[in-house]
């Protein structure tokens, strides 16, 4: 039994009147182009060939970059606008949380707005009356319910809008990124309500950039890219594929944005030095590359995955006193980790001609963020041959919003009177 069935959906957005920002009938009549102005003269294909079915009681998460057609798809399912071609079948009552409190009238009371909003969302007057107390309780509006809506704080406004929308008792609930607004406790309330609706076997379609939410809440995921479905199915798999793709694009962006500068002067104070490169160049680091476990170069890594820092080195003449070092800094310059071959007790023997040094990180246990790298080759007493300070950066992505820099491998165990279920119990990468 499918609650939402979308077949071969295409949506073409049309732009009208390229030269007119505000068309006027006068100019249309004078120019004799009334019909021309009513005809679209440019179009943009927002959705191409989108098909999927969603069974009743399932939760679908739709992800994708900005402008990939997510909201368009949601609006079409909600019945706002018509598809250019293709069909959408929705079983039962649809409620869309696309904008909270859309259509509230500022001059009249919250009470009257609840009735009008509820009826706009498809309830009868009696049905709104039956739910009224629940709505007010959920929204935590209290006595303000009889004050004009224009006197509400934006938080109250949103809570009331959300309360109405979720009490419409929809068979299919469509949610567009509304959780991005509102404070922590409101967000929790929304999530609790979703859990309730899921238990009641309601079908939910969620559009969000919070990927974590998709893996936690959704039974299925769908990734839209430039209006087409790139992947659909198991949330974890879809999100991973999406993250990989985002990473690939970011790679391109990061590597073009950060050309290696060559600066040979020695800075006054090494610890506060900005990025740069210095040293005698008796030994030289000719190239630095970050690689994924499978050997592909990259600049974006998922937290917990392995990373290789590969240094291409060469020495003009043979050296016996040399140390290789690596340090990882946070974006704001805090040293997260640093080490070198001398500290770790390695005995240098010989460096001559070309060579390669690989610093392997088995698990990049860092939280999400941008990090920068120092790499260096220097003498045991610290005199640099070639020091690259903060010249390289990489990004760590994660679906978990934990804080700090270091994410140890971890897990939670509960026993006795402690009962916790659901996501967050087992750490995602351990």
């Amino acid at each position: 039994m499918s609650a939402v069935e979308v077949r071969d959906l295409h949506k073409l957005y049309r732009r009208y009147g390229r030269r007119k920002n505000f068309g006027t009938l006068k100019s249309a009549l004078l120019g004799g182009r009334l019909r021309a102005d009513l005809r679209p003269d440019a179009s943009f294909e927002a959705l191409k060939d989108v098909s999927f079915t969603l069974a009743r009681g399932r939760t679908l998460g739709i992800v994708g970059r900005n402008g990939s057609g997510k909201s368009t798809l949601l609006k079409l399912i909600a019945g706002i606008g018509r598809p250019t071609s293709g069909t959408i079948d929705v079983e039962g009552r649809v409620s869309a949380l696309i904008e909270l409190g859309a259509g509230f009238h500022p001059e009249i009371s919250g009470r009257e707005n609840v009735f009008i909003n509820g009826m706009m969302l498809g309830l009868s007057k009696r049905e709104v009356a039956d739910r009224f107390d629940d709505i007010v309780r959920f929204a935590e509006i209290g006595e303000f319910i009889d004050a004009p809506v224009k006197t509400y704080s934006s938080g109250m406004y949103m809570r009331l809008g959300f309360a109405v929308a979720v009490h419409v008792d929809p068979d299919v609930l469509l949610v567009d990124e509304v959780l991005a607004v509102g404070d922590e406790s409101f967000t929790h309330k929304c999530l609790d309500r979703f859990a309730d609706l899921k238990r009641q076997q309601k079908t939910i379609v969620l559009v969000t950039h919070t990927l974590d939410l998709v893996t936690r809440l959704c039974d299925e995921a769908l990734w839209l890219d430039h209006g087409r479905i790139r992947a659909q199915g198991d949330p974890k798999r879809v999100i991973d594929a999406y993250l990989l793709d985002v990473a690939a694009t970011e790679d391109a962006a990061v590597s073009t944005a950060r050309p290696v500068s060559h600066q040979d002067s020695l800075p006054q104070d090494m610890t506060t030095a900005a990025e740069g490169r210095w040293g005698s160049r008796e030994a030289e680091i000719a190239g630095v590359e970050l690689r994924h476990a499978h050997g592909a170069p990259g600049q974006v890594f998922r937290s917990g995955e392995p990373m290789d820092i590969v240094l291409a080195v060469h020495a003009a003449r043979e050296l016996t006193d040399f140390v290789f070092g690596v340090a990882v800094y946070s974006a704001d310059g805090v040293c997260c980790y640093g080490t070198n071959t001398h500290i770790e007790g390695a005995q240098p023997q010989r460096l001559s001609g070309k060579g390669e040094v690989v610093f392997r990180i088995d698990a990049l246990d860092l939280t999400a963020g941008t990090y920068r790298l120092d790499v260096a080759v220097h003498r045991a007493d610290g005199v640099p041959y070639d020091y690259h300070r903060l010249l390289y950066s990489f990004r760590v992505t994660s679906t978990v919003k934990d804080v700090g820099f270091f994410r140890p491998k971890h897990g939670w165990t509960f026993s006795g009177g402690v009962e916790i279920a659901g996501p967050g119990v087992s750490s995602e990468d351990s």
Partner: protein, 270 residues
Amino acid sequence: MISGGHVLASLRQLLRYRALVVSLVARELKARYRGSVLGFLWTFVNPLLLLLVYSFVFGVVMPGARAPEIEHYPLFLFCGILPWTWFSQSLTESCVSLTGSGSLLRKVMFPAEILPAVTVFTGLVNFGFGLVILAGFSIYAAVPLLTADLLWLPAIVLVQLMLSLGLGLLLAALSVHFRDIRDLLGSVLTLWFFATPIIYPYTQAPERLRPLLDLNPFTHLAVAYQEVLYVAGPYRQGARLGIAAGVALVALIVGYLVFDRLRETFAEEV
């Protein structure tokens, strides 16, 4: 192309959403009357002012210009100005009914024709209040109001409702694409006002101009209101009302079809 079934389906939808229309009309009225001190009166300031001006002009300045058979000129005037106010306000406000509700159209699934309909029905309620004021005048002027003619009133109001709805839908939809329609409409309505027997009786118009007047559907409506509410003796112009009804029906169908044709563009253009 012209499919009556389509229009019927839309009317059914309007019927299904009637509770919402009723609430929205109530909201309009409340919001308008609550926000200002004079509240309710504001709606009637304009027609009363018109009434005052024309009564002064034709009663005091040049009393010879008006038809001698009109005994209570202000009352006669009011019979025409009242429905005209409803009509012209419906059209003017329909122009902004969609363009002023962008967030609703873009974010909520919601039959857009409700918005111009609410405008027209809000006008209807105000018209109803106006009739009460008119009744007061009639009693004051000792003009018998409770005649069998009054049975025509619902039919006349219905014809005007259809005409206003049709034109309202048309203007609302076109205003989304042509923002100057509202300004143009202002001039057209001024012309239309004088081309309708409101400040003068139909019978005072020159014989050769009457066919032109007859082309104006509001002529038949205005005359009907005057006959039913003011002129003594039974109303015998059912045929004229029939013509107006026909025009109103065509306006409704055309207005709806244009509206429906442009419906998809609303969410993207407002």
